[in-house]
Amino acid sequence: MSVRVGKTDRASSFPVAAKAALRNDQLRRNVRNATDIIRAKRALRIDEMPDWEQLRQAASDIKMHTLAHLDYYLEQFERNCEQAGGKVHWARDADEANTIAAALIKQYSGDQPAEVIKVKTMTSDEIQMNVALEHAGIRAYETDLADMIVQMSSDEPSHIVVPALHKNRFEVREIFREQMGLVDLGDQPADLTDAARSYLREKFLRIKIGISGANFAIAETGSVCVVESEGNGRMCVTMPNVLISLIGIEKVIPTFQDLEVFLQLLPRSATGERMNPYNSFWAGVEPGDGPTAFHIILLDNGRTALLKDERERETLDCIRCGACLNACPVYRETGGHAYGSIYSGPIGAILSPQLQSLEHSRSLPYASTLCGACYEVCPVKINIPEILIHLRGKIVREEQATLRGSLSAECLAMRAMGTIFLSHRRYESAQRLARLGQKIFERNGQLTNLPGLAGAWTEFRDLRPLPKQSFRDWWKTRVEAAVSSEEAS
């Protein structure tokens, strides 16, 4: 099986990639600015909601219920969708999904040039669908403004909701100027948006095959829901003759009425709007309105491996609102690219390493201070810090199972500390030893240049040396003093 999450095969580990990102001041300013704005808007909208916590709880309960009966709901969804005229395909992994999509597009294109219009789908980025389609000779046009910016500049998304938030208006103008041949293009966001509108209008009216993802797949009705703002989603699901929707198996929800929970949580969490401009719902095909052929690809790509363990399963509750990214102090420093996966921020740090087991993603569960800001904002209450700790445990167990891993500096240090803490006498001698050992590193009353792992501390910060007397030393002298004063009297 080839599970893939974006172009991760070339990614460096998080600390290495983050270091590079930290040097890019423009990127950091753009990320900071954008996340500040969304956070402020989100906070405003959530203040309006007296029942926010109850909605979060219900969302979490509905998701956990659905995942616990995932086979039932997928089959129900499939049945209803096909009854309404859709065709459901199943894909074990990225390659299988891409193969199905490419074959369908080829088939429907006949002898015409194969072209598709796409509405933002993270899932298609996950399986690198555009790359696969290109190999198959199919031209794919992203139609979400931000995705278009990313695609035109051969970049990677840096946020799951606002993929181009790392680019400012001047950078976008340069990309559009070059790619659309517009020499006189202004740099106001309105100018840039207008340019995108005229550029894409022709594509929407001409191209006969559309590709979408889904925010929700409703089992009860067999219908699909796409949540969006620009109208490109409506275009892609309405104007073409053929529509292909790529849907992760975790996107299914039981009933239409369940949307009353998710559609209150998602827009407020994602963009700080009470409701996003458009939600489209459709089941199968409808004569006289929209595509005459509708295909769904239900994608596993590693998801089923998360079902067994309840902690891990929680990861699949995610509705991709991006609130955890905006809240995360680590993401806000580095932006999304440092995560080496199209899923960045806290959700990326738990999702990518579970979907695939590449070397770089093993650093992701450590890309967090466990500050809990992600859990606090998550509309479906995914306890991300707990999942991070759980994944760290898995990684350590795997490391310890290898000779090299079990002899790593960290592993040895941790084991030594563990042993020291098991006896207070050993611990006390260790305290004394450390006090002696630190002498050679002391400069002007501070430790400024420690060796080994601790060197990463003193590279950026000073450290006060261990005081002469530990607390327990103080306590002992105090007890002794009390005893001897008692004896004296």
Binding site: S363, T369, F421, A456, F471
Partner: protein, 245 residues
């Protein structure tokens, strides 16, 4: 009341003044402090870094040392978070019902220092005097896991001659995060420099918190920058009196 002190290993070794301050404040309020000398570490560092197997004996050790205590006072919010959030789960995973029962019985008796004062003992005024400007950093564990709320502010507001200055964006993490500070030192430092820019903006002479770990990070950065702002655990401010000055 007899209060057992779990001082936390890093406080014991690096910040003895915090334990001393806790002892003084509580004794001043008429309580008797006990310090079980066998105590070492609650297991947090091992557990949160992924060495969960190595944390288990430390958890068992902690429970056996403190199981009979009337009240346990812990001047470290992150250790309390470790105990409250993880001990029960660890006990469950050990499939040891006696151990699980002991944990369940012990948990309600564990208090973070400010919680103990405000929530358990109902005190906001501990009779302290501290003639300096102070800003308070709500550490992530105290803020989001313990939900200590305004307890620390209530305590600080009662301190005579203390000028309390608000820290902007106070709910932002300082970048410490245990082994994160080492494994992701660059990002940790970037987060820290933002935190410290804000600390310096307040003009306060002292930064305080319920966790010396965060304070060690904040102070380490400030000192490296040549700033003279001091970092003090809340207990140290509350133990100050006119006489000391």
């Amino acid at each position: 009341m007899r209060i057992a002190l779990f001082v936390a290993c890093y406080n014991d070794t690096l910040f003895p003044e915090t334990g001393i301050a806790v002892t003084r404040v509580l004794e001043r309020l008429g309580h008797t402090i006990e310090f079980p000398i066998e105590q070492t570490c609650c297991g947090q560092m091992h557990h949160n870094t992924g060495y969960q197997k190595d944390a288990v004996p430390l958890v068992r050790r902690f429970v056996s040392i403190f199981r009979d205590a009337e009240i346990v006072c812990v001047p470290s919010a992150s250790c309390v978070a470790m105990i409250r959030e993880h001990y029960e789960l660890i006990a469950q995973q050990e499939h040891d019902p006696d151990f699980a029962r002991e944990v369940r019985n012990l948990l309600p008796r564990i208090f973070e220092f400010s919680e103990l004062l405000v929530e358990r003992l109902g005190v906001d005024d501990v009779g302290a005097t501290f003639p300096h400007s102070v800003t308070y950093h709500p550490s992530c564990h105290s803020l989001r896991m313990l939900n200590v709320g305004d307890g620390p502010y209530r305590l600080l507001r009662q301190v005579r001659k203390l000028e309390l200055v608000d820290l902007p964006n106070q709910d932002q993490c300082c970048g410490f995060g245990g082994t994160f500070a080492i494994k992701n030192a660059d990002v940790s430092a970037a987060m820290l420099s933002e935190k410290n820019r804000e600390v310096l903006e307040t003009g306060a002479a002292v930064i305080t918190a319920l966790d010396n770990s965060c304070l060690m990070q904040i102070y380490g950065g400030l000192h490296r920058q040549g700033s003279s702002v001091r970092a003090m655990h809340l207990a140290e401010i509350l133990s100050s009196s006119e006489v000391d000055r």
